[in-house]
């Protein structure tokens, strides 16, 4: 990063100089070194055909290790929406809701699609265009490649979207350049003003003043965290997330002095349900067992590199350290614990976006 931008950040006390000098298109062209085995970005933008079935859509997301993709309708010649795991969860919940509550769990050999057949009386595989944005949390939001990053951050803050489609207009029509997610913004901030970016001496404070504030100081500690207990089923956990408009819940042991964090389930974990044969049975497992089997698989997928069971920061961790952790792990959120495991808050990329404008 050039010295003039660094100087501007120091004198203005905000990240505007960085955001105004980088365009969304620049971020799309940034190269991921690939040293992050746990979560690497795909090398080219992925979009899904609108006629793909639910299972195929889910498999496509999982195979490319992304959490969302735009849906392209060839007949209409344009994007008709976004598909992400929250929509898939909303779909599964709505289908299962059609099964009577006191009916026994459906036969183990049926796939989700067969349940749909039962529930919706013989319609075939549901095409994903029908479940695009079913969760209402995933609107199709676009931004031009030539816009500066500040616009993207403002969109994230105001429209409460998690990702934007970046369009690069050429002579004929708008060309899909990629997805700009909140993670990309966090990675940009971490790599330019992070303590370990090699730009400043790690022993000195971050050049962005807000970055040096603790999570407590920016008001992210102490809010109630929606949680489930290990004995709750995966289905109950998904339902809790859906009703609270969240994409993740903490699994906690409840105690008199507070809750101890033992695990977490997020909506992206639905891929273990939808893409495996008879995977939907797992909806009835207890969520802690589901969580441990997910970590077991994730470790093997990462070439044997096991990760910590849950990503944790502390109330006295600084904002910039939290952003660096989110960027390095490519997580959407980290849990705030005091002491070893007492859960006192959660900080997600959505919480951080408005703070980047300060």
């Amino acid at each position: 990063m050039s010295d003039s931008i660094a100087e501007a950040i120091k004198s203005e006390g905000s990240l505007n100089a960085l955001f105004n000098s980088t365009t969304c298109g620049d971020l799309m062209r940034a190269v991921d070194s690939g040293s992050n085995k746990l979560a690497s970005r795909p090398t080219h933008p992925i979009c899904l055909d609108s006629e793909l079935s639910v299972t195929e859509g889910c498999e496509a997301l999982a195979a490319n290790k992304i959490t969302s993709a735009p849906i392209y309708d060839a007949a209409k010649g344009g994007f008709v929406g976004m598909l992400d795991y929250r929509d898939l969860v909303a779909y599964v919940l709505s289908v299962l809701h059609k099964v009577a509550k006191d009916a026994p769990p459906p036969d183990a050999t049926l796939e989700v699609t067969d349940i749909v057949k039962r529930a919706l009386s013989n319609k075939g595989d549901v095409p994903i265009k029908l479940i695009s944005n079913l969760s209402h949390l995933n609107p199709l939001a676009t931004v031009q490649a030539s816009s500066c990053v500040r616009e993207a951050v403002e969109d994230f803050t105001q429209k409460r979207a998690h990702r934007l489609i970046v369009l690069e207009p050429d002579s004929e029509a708008s060309q899909f350049a990629g997805i700009l997610s909140q993670s990309t913004i966090a990675a940009l901030v971490a790599s330019r003003v992070g303590k370990l970016a090699g730009v400043t001496n790690p022993k000195e404070k971050c050049i962005w003043p807000t970055g040096n504030k603790t999570l407590e100081e920016v008001g992210l500690v102490g809010k109630e965290v929606v949680s489930v207990i290990p004995e709750d089923t995966v289905l109950e956990a998904l339902y809790t997330m859906h009703e609270n408009h969240l994409s993740s819940v903490a699994i906690v042991e409840r105690g008199s002095h507070g809750n101890d964090l033992v695990g977490s389930i997020s909506m992206t974990d639905i891929k273990m349900v939808l893409s495996a044969r008879s995977g939907w049975r797992r909806l009835y497992e207890n969520c802690y067992d589901f969580f441990t089997s997910l970590r077991y698989e994730q470790g093997l997928e990462a070439g044997g590199d096991d990760r910590v069971p849950t990503y944790i920061v502390h109330p006295h961790s600084t904002l910039i350290a939290t952003i660096e952790k989110l960027a390095a792990t490519r997580a959407h959120r980290v849990w705030i614990c005091s002491g070893a495991s007492r859960l006192v808050g959660v900080v997600s990329l959505s919480d951080i976006m408005p703070l980047l404008l300060q």
Binding site: N36, P202, T292, G303, R307
Partner: protein, 384 residues
């Protein structure tokens, strides 16, 4: 049952679980032993370094078959004894007994899996529950894990740790003054030593007008704890501390070992066919009396000598395990295609002592074993 470590060890070699009361006593006695050891253990060569074993009990027996049974060979285990494999309890109980029986011949270093939160997630807790009906045994072992040493230095030259380096640790003396008798924290020096990984290129490129000792050569690890670190940091650590090499574990290596940073750092991995599906080789690092380093590579234990998950073979009492694992001369593994293929791959090149060689390229028919008999004898006979 009267207290006899040799009886316990013999039982454990036959994969028989010890009772809960005996395990409690073993852990208490081992804690008393370990509390007197400093955070950095000093060990003399010759010694064999063992990487992650992750509850793969039969492969631990392979290691003893290849490297020599305790106490004839001195061993340093680099951590990650439990989780993922099916026999974490038997593995850790055996190693604890060996440590108690021959404390100067066995060194146990703490890995990132020797931790309460991690063992609850990755399988050790569930295994203890299954085999003992309750969590007490898990509690005894995880309390013991708080006492394991953090690192080893061999003959003031080779630094051994489970994970890697820390931006908070510039000298080995700084490790000596840490308080290690606690659960591994989420961050800080102790967490870094067990979680960090070396990478050929750190995530962030170095930029800015900073001096060489301030390069941003550490980056936050995607694992969620510890750091990833590069060549410059490794070189600096070796120079400042007058060391020659770092050996660590923590990362799966398909060939069983990996050498990085112009041989300043190596990774040893000792769990073949990890989780019974990764298809990898494993190795132990044999260090000779003059600090010659040799990665002895081996494959998974032949299937006919181990029970598959769910099919337990009863061992008759009094069976000497050494009868089941024939010594040099008897070609027990001749029918196993993987080992046969492994042996066929040897090309004929002379072995140069003191240098690291790919074992596939070694012809050691002319190998002169060093005066200390055991390791070399077993190594040479294994190859012939």
């Amino acid at each position: 049952m009267s207290w006899d470590l040799d009886v316990f060890i013999e039982q454990l070699y036959r994969k028989q679980l010890l009772t809960e009361n005996i395990i409690k006593e073993l852990c208490e006695k081992t804690k008393e032993l370990l509390v007197r050891e400093g955070n950095v253990a000093q060990v003399a060569a010759p010694v064999t370094l063992v990487g992650d074993v992750h509850g793969q009990f039969y492969d631990v027996l392979e290691i003893f078959k290849i490297g020599g049974w305790a106490p004839s060979t001195s061993y340093v285990f680099l951590g990650d004894y439990v989780d993922r494999g099916y026999y974490s309890v038997e593995t850790i109980t055996l190693l604890v007994c060996l440590k108690l029986r021959w404390p100067d011949r066995i060194t146990l270093v703490r890995g990132n899996h020797e931790s309460r939160a991690v063992t609850q997630t990755y399988g050790f807790y569930a295994e203890c529950l299954r085999k003992y009906g309750g969590p007490s045994v898990w509690t005894y072992f995880t309390d013991l894990f708080d006492y394991l040493v953090l690192s080893v230095v061999i003959d003031n030259t080779i630094f051994c740790v489970h994970g890697g380096l820390s931006p908070s640790i510039h000298t080995v003396d700084q490790i000596r003054v840490l308080d290690r008798f606690r659960e591994i924290p989420h961050e800080g020096a102790m967490a870094d030593l067990v979680w960090s990984d070396p990478v050929s290129t750190p995530t962030y490129s170095v930029a800015g007008p900073l001096g060489t000792d301030e390069k941003g050569d550490f980056a936050i690890s995607p694992r969620g704890a510890g750091y990833i670190f590069g060549k410059e940091v490794t070189r600096k650590f070796l120079e400042v501390n007058g060391l020659g090499h770092i050996c660590r574990a923590h990362q799966l290596c398909m060939e069983g070992y990996q050498i990085l940073f112009d041989d300043m750092l190596s990774t040893v991995w000792s769990a073949p066919n990890y989780c019974y599906r990764a298809g990898n080789m494993a190795s132990v690092l044999q260090i000779g009396p003059d600090l010659q380093r040799y990665f002895n590579v081996f494959g998974p234990c032949p299937d006919q000598d181990r029970d598959m998950h769910g099919r337990d073979i009863e061992f008759a009492t009094g069976t000497d395990l050494r009868a089941r694992y024939p010594g040099p001369g008897a070609d027990a593994a001749a029918d196993d295609p993987t080992v046969a293929a492994f042996r066929k791959k040897r090309a004929s090149k002379p072995m140069v002592p003191g240098a690291l060689r790919d074992p596939f390229e070694v012809d050691d028919t002319d190998f002169q074993p060093p005066p200390e008999g055991n390791i070399a004898k077993i190594v040479a006979q294994y190859f012939l």
